[in-house]
């Protein structure tokens, strides 16, 4: 008793908690709704209390009810209250509730901004975390705008837990507030190299999501991702990156070439199926993008198909499914490789899993050829018989029709067979696809003239046995077929053997039970048949048969006149009257046949489905304008009479040109013939088929004799199989004949070789069974080729199509326009200095001054152009504005040059060439390309200019803002780029010798301050290692340098990539690479190998081919430069002999090659210098005659520094060695003198680095 009292009082205090609610609901299964409504009342009471614990409890319960489908938006304000509790427990409950039920329409959301900001900057990382998680679910454009800056700050938080969440949520912020993308991007990019794998993975995740929608803007990140791909071991990250590459390769084929090798390696090495599968997928994407250019990837295709086969054969259904899915991608470009696995795919059709069967069906679609179509369809027909469940059977049916009708019936050699397949398909019970079969029948009968006779015979039988189709109510879907049958019989009634019998079949009383639209066709076509019968009996005086026919119609038609369907009724009564009139004439013995036939004379042509869309709008016609005053009827329809033709089915669109004279017809034929000649989809069945047009009628088409004793007497009997046999026999016979002919020809030894393409088994050899003339679809004259479907305008990603290229230089001097800065709350002192902002504030005054100058200039330009058309001017105006925005950063540093008329090249050209540079440093080095295949090198240059993100040539009217630069501007840039490339090519040769130690990956260039001013002189990170008449070795050691765990005491590892290029005409094999180790530097050899053993190069080199191998060296001390002597031995194998050859080389490890480009913030940099741990040294260079930014770029590129800060002609730079030494430079220039003050914690390293810098500049 006492216990109960206690419990009651405590209950009042704490009410029900979530568990009680759940329990209660489970106990009230019968009256759940009622129970919950009382609970909601309780919750409402609880929410009114002041106690935050009670409120939180209530909100927690509401979250549960929300899951059950109850609207809880009325408690939004209380949720905000709970969110703002100072206790983590309640805060979490509040944020969870908010994330479940807040959305853009929730009005209280605007109250949360400050609370969220407070939580984001909370000292407790879990408060911040919970706020970020919640925000990720309900972020609105307003919140995104207000909080973007705070979140950006969090991206550099000390705790990785916060960093990764902040990075991830940026994607949502970008979506809601696209303006934040540009300012935030440099930091996001930085996070790709975050030391914490979680943060790195988050950054990869975000960039992949961004790049998926607008891949071209992210092409320039490819080198960085490539590096990640080859270094990361996290499968999640790898999968994302590999998927991203799949999206990028279509834009840049050279990227694909570079990817193939590492991907194939991954495929071979990984044990994770998910990774393997994504690799295969991306290799496929690469191969698709390369399919035109590179024929030598059959090995990769083979590998993919092989691996996929393994997946498909796996017992795991998931792998099987994915294997089939990927296979269908290969199929599009390399159908041959897939076709060899037909057995496997047909086997999958029997799988118990429907998803797998459907995938296999998809594959079949692409696997058919003229040769195997019949066979495959036969298999499918068997499956149709076996299939249970209508959905799968319907799917099979549509697939059969798809397969057969694809690309204008390309694979059908025997249309009789196809018609009989269609007839067989009508046996399907309860299918929904009657209309599909019907439209196929119509299509074939109209477009294949030769088949009409056969088709009509089959259709007549169908009509005769209509009761079989309609008898069962379940078969309603299929009666659509009768629509086609009736129409075909009527339209091509001249082929009918016994029109009278068919006419009788069409007028049976049972017809009245058919759907209205079918009856209407029956009635109309009965009239056509009537005309045919009359004509048949034309000339016979006192024709009994003709009069009997009229009587039949007069007897039967009244049934239709009574029809409830207006269409049927109208047609029937019209025709009834007509027949009555004719009967009267007949009784007077007047010749009527001619006139009646004239009613239905004329030929019908199919109209292309898009014909209507493509009718060009005549000059000066505004379809939206009123022609008369609004109330009156619009007459615009008269101006495009073709509208009637396109939208409806051929049946309705028939327009009878009874009075088309012969001349007109001839002219039309001529036009059509020409059209067909230009139409790639038009099947020229054989050269002679063209003659069909010259012949006056259809009668001249040689039609294969149809043995009518075989085809259906009773519809529904399988008979298509016979065609298969016939077909095989026929082909054999033809083959034999052809052989004979060829022999004859050979004997005659005629010079003219007419059969050039007589490949043993080529598709062309299979000729159609009879002359097939597929009538092309008609198009209006001057049809517009425009066919592009625009993207969904509501797609939020469209707004994110922002050019990021001038941003990519890490935290470069200042690419952001003033207006692009993220809104910062100014009344609050900033907790953390963000580098971007720092730079902002510095260069703003400078820039605005210059901007105004430029604006004036632009104004003048505008004045000049005022005379131009208004439309153009508007556009121009916009462009100018854009340009202004784009070119601001340039102006900041470049005042004089802007006065010149020439538009300054934007950073993108530098960026683009940078990417080019990386791409061209693919295993096939550019120099080699020039030697071996000059044409391909030229092509590469072309494609590179086309693919460079900003310089796409002549892209017609690009509406995206960043691309709308004046074409003039564009052209110039392109030109410059080309020049630059040429220069680069030339220079490369020299560079190999000049920069012995030159290094520095793509990053360092991006890191330079260089961007906009002038095109940078190209720099190479290859150096010639050694060369003889057989082989050339080139060293690339740039970004391959890394340390392990940053452990200062242990030895560090350096990876050296060497490109081997075979210069001879012989095959090089058994290459062995050996280096004489020094005490300090050792070549890493596999375990068990002796200290002097050589390493085998893992590939062989055919003539003219080059490939890249990597060697790992362990280095103990990095303060001194090193030289290692080495030898490469190899066997040269030519046709007759093989010799053993040797090449000596010296590997030069400079001190700068131990430096890694590391970004550094100016505040950290200042601290470092203040610390006093660093020792100084300095260097003076005289007679340096180059712009300051070039100088910096050189240091960045060759010596792996990054610019921390640059003010006028003074810059501070930073780099870090692989063992963690800091190297700081202060570079000043005046006139031609450059002074470099340097500090480093290791004086001898510094001395060497400075020496090397000096050397670099002494060379130029």
């Amino acid at each position: 008793m006492a216990l109960k009292i206690v419990k009651g009082s405590i209950d009042r205090m704490f009410d029900k908690n979530l568990q009680d609610l759940v329990r209660g609901i489970r106990n009230h299964k019968d009256d759940e709704a009622k129970y919950i409504s009382t609970c909601i009342d309780e919750i409402k009471q609880e929410l009114k209390q002041d106690n935050i614990a009670v409120k939180a409890n209530a909100v927690c319960k509401l979250t549960y009810l929300q899951m059950l489908g109850y609207d809880v938006s009325w408690a939004a304000f209380n949720i905000v209250e709970v969110m703002s509790s100072s206790k983590f427990t309640y805060k979490r409950i509040g944020y969870l509730a908010a994330s479940q039920c807040f959305h853009e329409g929730t009005d209280v959301i605007m109250l949360t901004t400050n609370q969220i900001r407070k939580d984001l900057s909370s000292p407790n990382q879990y408060d911040t975390g919970v706020a970020l998680t919640g925000l990720s679910c309900f972020v609105t454009p307003d919140l995104a705008r207000d909080l973007a800056n705070d979140i950006m700050t969090l991206m550099s938080h000390t705790k990785p837990y916060i960093r990764k969440k902040a990075v991830l949520i940026m994607y949502k912020v970008f979506l809601k507030y696209p303006e934040s993308l540009r300012p935030a991007f440099p930091r996001l990019k930085e996070k790709l190299e975050d030391p914490d794998p979680g943060v790195q993975s988050a950054a990869v995740n975000v960039i992949c999501e961004l790049a998926r929608r607008n891949p071209k803007n992210y092409l320039s990140l490819a080198p960085l991702f490539f590096k990640l791909m080859t270094s990361s071991t996290n499968n999640w990250v790898l999968i994302k990156i590999i998927k991203l590459f799949g999206a990028l390769t279509p834009l840049e084929p050279r990227l694909g070439k570079k990817l193939i090798e590492p991907l194939t390696n991954l495929i071979h090495s990984t044990s994770a199926m998910s990774l393997l599968y994504e690799c295969v997928n991306t290799v496929i994407a690469v191969l698709i993008s390369l399919s035109s250019g590179m024929p030598n990837h059959s090995a990769s295709i083979q590998l993919c198909v092989q691996k996929l086969r393994i997946l498909i054969e796996d017992s795991d259904q998931n792998l099987k499914y994915l294997g089939l899915l990927a296979m269908s991608k290969i199929l599009k470009t390399h159908p041959k490789s897939v076709q060899s696995h037909k057995d496997l795919i047909l086997q999958c059709l029997d799988d118990k899993d429907e998803s797998i069967r459907l995938r296999a069906l998809d594959l079949l679609y692409g696997m058919v050829s003229k040769k195997n179509l019949m066979e495959i369809v036969k298999k499918l027909m068997l499956h149709v018989d076996k299939a249970e469940g209508t959905t799968y059977r319907d799917e099979l049916l549509t697939k059969i029709i798809d397969i057969c009708s694809q690309s204008n019936f390309q694979y059908i050699t025997n249309f009789e067979w196809y018609i009989s397949i269609l007839v067989e398909l009508t046996r399907l019970e309860g299918t929904r696809h009657g209309h599909l079969i019907a439209s196929q029948m119509l299509d074939v009968a109209i477009r294949v003239k030769a088949i009409r006779g056969f088709a009509v015979a089959q259709m007549a039988t169908l009509l005769d046995n209509a009761h079989l189709l309609t008898g069962n109510t379940q078969r309603n879907g299929i009666c659509e077929v009768l629509y086609a049958a009736a129409w075909i019989c009527g339209e091509f009634s001249e082929h009918l053997e016994d029109p009278m019998q068919t006419l009788e079949a069409m007028l049976r009383p049972k017809v009245a039970t058919l759907p209205g639209h079918i009856q209407a066709v029956y009635v109309q076509n009965a009239a056509k048949l009537f005309a045919t019968v009359l004509r048949k009996h034309d000339g016979e005086t006192e024709s009994q048969a003709a009069q009997e026919t009229s009587q039949l119609l007069i007897d039967r038609l009244p049934l239709f006149v009574q029809s409830a369907n207006l269409e049927v009724q109208e047609r029937a009564s019209c025709i009834l009257q007509l027949v009555k009139y004719i009967q009267k004439l007949q009784q007077k013995n007047v010749e009527v046949a001619e006139e009646v036939t004239a009613l239905f004379a004329g030929e019908l042509n199919p109209v292309a489905p898009k014909a209507q869309k493509k009718v060009p709008i005549p000059e000066g016609l505004d379809l939206d304008a009123w022609i008369n005053e609004p109330p009156s009827e619009s007459e615009s329809e008269d101006e495009k009479p073709k509208a009637v033709f396109a939208k409806e089915e051929p049946k309705h669109s028939r327009s009878r040109h009874t009075e088309v004279d012969e001349k007109e017809l001839a002219r039309r034929r001529e036009v059509r013939k020409q059209e067909q000649a230009n139409n790639p989809f038009y099947i020229k069945a054989s050269p002679s088929s063209q003659k069909v047009y010259d012949a006056p009628g259809v009668e001249h088409i040689p039609v294969v004799q149809i043995d009518l004793s075989v085809p259906l007497k009773v519809p529904g009997m399988p008979m298509s199989d016979q065609y298969l046999k016939l077909e095989v026999e026929r082909r054999q016979k033809e083959k034999a004949e052809r052989k004979k002919k060829e022999k004859k020809k050979k004997r005659e030894k005629r010079g003219k070789e007419r059969k050039a393409d007589s490949g043993p088994e080529s598709e062309e050899d299979i000729t159609p069974a009879h002359q097939v003339d597929i009538v092309t679809e008609e198009m209006p004259e001057n049809a517009l080729p425009s066919d592009d479907d625009d993207k969904d305008p509501n797609d939020p990603h469209k707004a994110l199509d922002i050019d990021l290229d001038n941003l990519l230089s890490g935290f470069s001097s200042r690419p952001l326009a003033d207006s692009e800065k993220l809104p910062v709350r100014t009344h609050r002192p900033e907790a953390l200095k963000s580098p971007a902002e720092d730079r902002d504030s510095e260069s703003v005054p400078q820039e605005t001054k210059k901007k105004s100058g430029k604006e004036k200039k632009k104004d003048k330009e505008k004045d000049r152009k005022r005379s131009k058309e208004e439309k153009k001017k508007k556009k121009k105006h916009k462009e100018v504005e854009e340009e202004l925005l784009e070119s601001q950063p340039e102006e900041a540093v470049q005042s004089e040059e802007t006065k010149e008329a020439a538009a300054p090249p934007t950073s993108t050209s530098a960026e683009a060439s940078d990417l080019d540079f990386w791409l061209s440093s693919a295993p096939v080095p550019p120099a080699a390309q020039e030697v071996t295949a000059p044409s391909s090198a030229a092509a590469a240059v072309d494609t590179s200019s086309a693919a460079a993100p900003e310089s796409e040539p002549d892209e017609p009217k690009d509406t995206e803002p960043e691309d709308t630069k004046s074409s003039k501007h564009k052209k110039k840039k392109q030109k410059k780029e080309k020049e630059e490339k040429e220069k680069k090519k030339k220079k490369r040769h020299h560079h190999h010798h000049q920069h012995h130690s030159d290094a520095g990956g793509e990053d360092s260039v991006q890191n330079g301050t260089v961007e906009e001013e002038e095109p940078l002189p190209p720099m190479s990170n290859y150096s010639l290692l050694a060369e003889n008449s057989y082989i050339k070795m080139m060293k690339e050691d740039a970004d391959q340098v890394y340390d392990i765990q940053g452990n200062h005491q242990d030895e560090s590892k350096v990876v050296v990539s060497v490109i081997f290029e075979n210069k001879s005409d012989s095959f090089l094999k058994s290459m062995e690479f050996n280096v004489l180790d020094s005490l300090n530097s050792k070549l890493q050899r596999p375990e068990g190998a002796g200290a002097h053993d050589s390493l085998t190069v893992p590939f062989q080199l055919p003539p003219g081919v080059s490939n890249e191998a990597r060697f790992v060296f362990s280095v103990q001390s990095i303060i001194m430069p090193q030289k290692l002597k080495g030898t490469l031995t190899f066997i040269v194998k030519s046709d007759e002999s093989s010799t053993h050859e040797k090449l000596d080389f010296k590997l030069h490890f400079t001190c700068t090659s131990y430096l890694i480009t590391t970004p550094c913030y100016s505040d950290a940099y200042a601290k470092l210098l203040e610390s006093g741990d660093l020792k100084g040294s300095s260097l003076r260079l005289e007679g340096i005659n180059m712009p300051f930014h070039h100088l910096l770029a050189r240091i960045c590129f060759h010596h792996h520094f990054s610019v921390v800060e640059r003010i006028d002609s003074c810059a501070s730079m930073y780099s870090r060695s692989i063992q963690g030494h800091h190297v700081c430079l202060l570079v000043k220039t005046s006139d031609q003198t450059v002074s470099i003050d340097a500090k480093c914690d290791e004086p001898s390293l510094l001395g060497n680095v400075l020496d090397e810098i000096k050397q670099t500049f002494s060379k130029c």
Partner: protein, 193 residues
């Protein structure tokens, strides 16, 4: 992107629903029903991917699910996610639940849906995969659990006492509820890494 994460039992009762795009409550229920309908009629031992959830997204989207004992775990994702990767993620999720609840069963999810949400929040954020490392997830969840406990402190004691009392007195103890084979057996799958 992950569009939605749903957990429901063999009868279609939702145990957790997390939508990363906004839908009205009615639509959400409809989606759950539709998804259940699609998923539940599939046999065991057939593939775990499903195309054609009509309500969420469209042709780009796929349903990827796993069936554990009485529960279906369904992820609706678009084409930027790796199918096998998501399957592994589901496995990680369930294993994490198993660790956090100690032999997780449907009842745990029924009575502690808030806790499940919190665990999920450490794995997936705003539709994007945040963390796949199980020990990292558990560390963070436990750290937050500890914080909660320390906050409750003395004030939490009466509440705990109350719930203990309630459990003592009330007949509807979870033990008595018979929902069949409730314990989710986490099969040992080949690990993702």
């Amino acid at each position: 992107m992950i569009k939605a994460i749903l957990i429901f039992n063999n009868h279609g009762k939702p145990r957790l629903s997390k939508f990363y795009e906004h839908y009205t409550e009615d639509t959400e229920q409809q989606i759950i029903r539709e998804t259940f309908h699609l998923v539940s009629k599939r046999d065991e031992n057939i593939c775990n991917f499903l195309e054609g959830g009509l309500l969420i997204g469209g042709s780009d989207n796929k349903l990827i699910y796993r069936h554990y004992a009485t529960l279906y775990f369904v992820f609706c994702v678009d084409s930027s996610e790796s199918e096998l990767g998501i399957l592994d993620l589901i496995q990680v999720f369930v294993e994490t639940l198993d660790k956090c609840f100690e032999n997780v069963c449907e009842l745990d999810l029924i009575f502690h849906v808030d806790k499940v949400h919190n665990i999920l929040a450490e794995m997936v954020m705003g539709g994007m995969v945040l963390e796949t490392n199980m020990s990292e997830i558990i560390t963070q969840v436990e750290a937050q659990g500890k914080m909660e406990k320390s906050e409750a402190g003395i004030a939490g004691a009466p509440a705990r006492a109350v719930s203990a009392v309630k459990n003592m007195n009330l007949p509807e103890m979870p033990k008595n509820i018979n929902i069949g084979d409730i314990s989710i057996k986490v099969p040992n799958l080949p690990s993702f890494k």
